[in-house]
Symmetry: C2
Subunit: 330 residues, 2 copies
């Protein structure tokens, strides 16, 4: 489950109250302990490294503050050519070494119980924070930046891409079994602008990584470009909850694994209803080439037993006979 090591877990909240966000992220022992919590307590069958997409911006020379329940703040956003002089492509091993240490320690602690998923933010999503300086509903400032200063935007996007490729390759070297690339804000762009300002760069990252490990590409809201995302060669595509499984499969074609797409807000439903809704999703995707997951990060208001119920329902699901027949005839 995306953001499975998070605020809905009481043990996570204990560490959150004791250490600030970047201390948790930058201390390998803490990051490892948090990464393992949902494996031990919820029974998920993959670990997701506890980290944050914005560590890449810190490594590139920018100050990032993360205020609990408030979202990120960059006190000095990048909006002009002069601002760009503060930004550089870092030596990942030097500036993000704590991430690779956390990966090594987590792999050791996991002892092959389940695989470990690493991740990075997509260049477009990182540019959103870099230019806007904070979260936003519509990210008008970064869009105006791209539409009025496209040359600067593309230079920054390429720097973000180069940094991310090096960062993810080091994650693989440290031991992650899969990498996921998150484009949280790809869905704010029109299909043509998504190609220009986001997918053009994500494609470079996927193609640099997918010979080494399986990759998962997830651009929330960018449903219109599912065929183009499938064509990047990514092993899997993440899906939000606003698309029917059958539509997603039709758009993506048969060759790519699909991941998703349960509405995280739906986890508060009574467990009997949860069972009905999750089963409907599983039957919609059918067996094979599918990773059951939420359509976005788990929310803080989810009761732990509901998160556990989600995992159990998935693990115990029996596909209907008729569907088994359909699939075995393919």
């Amino acid at each position: 489950m995306m953001r499975q090591a998070g605020r809905y877990l009481p043990d996570y909240r204990v560490l959150r109250d004791k250490y600030d966000f970047f201390t948790r992220v930058q201390t390998p022992e803490l990051a490892t302990a948090i990464t393992l919590q949902p494996v031990d307590q919820i029974g998920v069958d993959a670990a997701i490294l506890f980290s944050d997409i914005l560590v890449v911006l810190q490594a590139m020379g920018l100050e990032v503050q993360l205020i609990e329940n408030k979202g990120p703040i960059l006190p000095n956003p990048v909006r002009t050519l002069a601002d760009m002089n503060r930004v550089y492509v870092p030596d990942a091993d030097e500036s993000l070494g704590y991430v690779f240490d956390a990966i090594r320690l987590t792999k050791q602690e996991l002892n092959n119980r389940v695989p470990l998923i690493g991740f990075a933010g997509a260049p477009w999503t990182l540019l959103c924070y870099m230019v806007e300086g904070k979260g936003s509903k519509t990210f008008d400032t970064v869009k105006a930046f791209c539409f009025t200063q496209p040359d600067l935007a593309h230079r920054l996007l390429q720097m973000l891409t180069d940094t991310t490729i090096a960062y993810l390759k080091q994650q693989v070297k440290a031991g992650v079994d899969v990498v996921q690339l998150f484009d949280s804000w790809g869905g704010l762009l029109s299909p043509d602008d998504f190609e220009t300002f986001s997918l053009f760069y994500m494609r470079q990252i996927i193609q640099a990584l997918n010979k080494e490990v399986p990759t998962i590409l997830f651009a929330k809201g960018a449903w219109s470009s599912i065929p183009e995302m499938a064509a990047t060669g990514s092993t899997a595509l993440g899906l939000d909850w606003c698309i029917r499984p059958e539509t997603a499969r039709k758009m993506a074609g048969p060759g790519v694994t699909l991941q998703g797409n349960f509405d995280p807000a739906r986890l508060v439903s009574p467990i009997s209803e949860l069972k009905k809704e999750v089963s409907k999703m599983l039957n919609g995707f059918g067996p094979g080439r599918y990773i059951a997951n939420l359509g976005h990060g788990i929310l803080p208001n989810v009761p732990v037993d509901h998160a556990k119920a989600f995992v159990d329902i998935v693990k115990n699901h029996q596909y209907q006979t008729r569907e088994k027949q359909v699939f075995s005839s393919l």
Copy 2:
């Protein structure tokens, strides 16, 4: 253009600095003056009544505060059965009379130059504000309310529906030529939940109105349900900018008019590029059964001459010969 009477217009800002939001909305002379500004200054070929979707919540007994640049606040949101006792289906003529006065005055001032579009918020979007009490990125509180107390949610949604039908019928009686129903937050729901909590109610409203005037149904982000929205019998469907014109037409079928779908953030592009992008959109939709518009409300950062350029490009567009042939052969 959606929200065409807005902050990007200097004359609007003059009135905004002088009168607070609800004074502007509730004083027919002010609402009329603001409604006419883009007709006179930008050259749009329809007027859109200056008002707000939240006036319906005020009429139903709730306090709504609107703080400039901040969004709406409802100090006493509705979350329990006890809260529901504060909410009622009002006599629209009594509590929303200022809207109908503004419509009559605007029609008089327009003197048939251009038609007048009235509007209302969709029941689901109004429920979002009613329960959440403020804007939100994900509206988790109202979703949790619907998923854990569906009976209360459906009772409120039906009250909102009944109120909206009466409200829009009175708008028609007062003189609006078209009505638009806005579901700003329909795209936060999965396709099945969109049917249950939103479209089920919008369908009632469209079917109560579409014998009297043309209707435009716009559920931002709810692309997956375009076929079902077309089947409501609405005269037109609004589209956001995250869908290609050809895809929208294919999903909607040939019988419904489509409206949209230029990315409002794109209006800051240099005018030469604006011309290229707007022409691409117009050619994508082709001539006939199409209303050129933005994919959402115009943004405050848009230069007035860019807004005017958008209108001029649309008005002066020449369809390419090849496309003319394709369409005339249909």
